[in-house]
Amino acid sequence: MVARVQVPQEAKRGEAIEIRIAIQHPMETGFRFDLMGRAIPKNVINSLVARYNGAEVFRAELGSGVAANPSLQFYTVAEASGTIEFSWVDDAGVSGTERAAITVI
């Protein structure tokens, strides 16, 4: 699973910063059938958490209505230099993490 995280490299303390993540995932709805007519089991990223230096700043619960390769963005306040780490898990039990560093001046 490939993911990309975008955070500003540098931010001023107290500034609102935009955080974005894109994850390569089929987000299989469970409503589709393969060429042999067998149902393709539902497999979506069901939960995603973002932690800023260990503290949870964002949480999302995704369902079958979300398109493949989901892209999410949110804002948080820059407090201290460190890392923003995302972790997620899908219905098949496959989890992933991706992180990005930020410097607060």
């Binding site: 990309r4 894109a22 994850i23 390569q24 089929p26 493949a68 390769n69 892209s71």
Partner: protein, 289 residues
């Protein structure tokens, strides 16, 4: 992977334009006219051939036919979902593979430096393999020769990723397919495939992409059919896909029998399209509906 051999020589193959002329001329029975008729037939055939290989004017990328939202998605390097495949390619670029346990980076260095402008020159004839190969084919040849690895499956995320990564390094560079004696036969086969009426709809590529580009096909705007943004992220596919997948979609649309991705007929067509798109900037990874 099976492809119908001699596809371009199929009896249903009718070259547009000159078939009627040939019929009328060959019906003339005057002996004294026969020689000049043959000469005229030859001239007509040549003229029709020359007229067939045409570049649209002005050249327009598929992006010019896309809506504002699709263009915005392609322009934003983070939001563009095709960049996920480029990122996948970057990972694979550094991973050792095969018996030689060599990575792409081991020979070529970092992709941005080593692969700049490469994609603009493909497809081209590989001297070792003595056949026309596209970027996907070249990557697989490299795996076989230098890494001792099995070729990646066509249309797999791995091969799409590496292709997207390599093509992405040529973004902005004009497509520059050069015709030479080595690829001339491939070019002609590709050109003939492009003008071949196929399927239950009895349409050739030219009917939509040369004569009716800019027109509507249901809700879609018909493009000029260039390959300068491939591999693309197509919203309908919800995934990245190769130019050959697009060919298959088009052939399915005209209800024609399709060929396997990576088949030589498709690579020939890719060369014709590259010649036809010469000058258009490469956009990989493009986004289309």
């Amino acid at each position: 992977m099976t492809t119908p051999a001699g596809f371009a020589r199929h009896p249903s193959y009718v070259k547009e334009g000159n078939s009627k002329a040939r019929f009328e001329l060959s019906n003339r029975s005057y002996a004294h006219l026969r020689l000049s008729a043959v000469a005229l037939l030859f001239a007509v055939a040549c003229a029709a051939h020359a007229a067939e290989a045409q570049k649209p004017s002005p050249l327009k990328s598929g992006l010019d036919f896309a809506g504002a939202d699709v263009r915005a998605l392609q322009a934003d390097d983070f939001a563009n979902p095709g960049m996920l495949w480029v990122a996948r390619g970057e990972k694979l670029w550094r991973e050792p593979a095969g018996k030689a346990a060599k990575s792409c980076a081991g020979c070529h260095g970092e992709a941005p430096a080593g692969m700049k402008g490469v994609a603009a020159r493909y497809p081209r004839v590989d001297p070792g393999a003595a056949r026309l190969v596209n970027l996907e084919g070249r990557i697989n040849l490299c795996r076989e020769r230098h890494q001792g690895a099995a070729p990646l499956q066509y249309e797999s995320d791995e091969l799409l990723g590496l292709t997207a990564l390599v093509a992405h390094q040529s973004r902005g560079a004009p497509v520059a397919a050069a015709l030479d004696p080595q690829n001339r036969a491939s070019f002609e086969r590709g050109r003939d495939f492009y003008h071949l009426r196929q399927g239950q709809m009895n349409l050739s590529c030219a009917h939509c992409h040369d004569r009716n580009s800019g027109g509507k096909l249901a809700a879609e705007t018909v493009s000029q059919g260039h390959g300068n943004a491939y591999p693309i992220y197509r919203l309908e596919w919800q995934a990245a896909g190769s130019l050959h997948r697009r060919f298959r979609s088009c052939l399915f649309g005209i209800r024609a029998e399709s060929l396997a991705p990576g088949s030589p007929e498709f690579v020939d067509l890719e060369l014709y399209l590259a010649w036809r798109a010469s000058g258009l900037p490469i956009e990989t990874p493009g986004v289309r509906r």
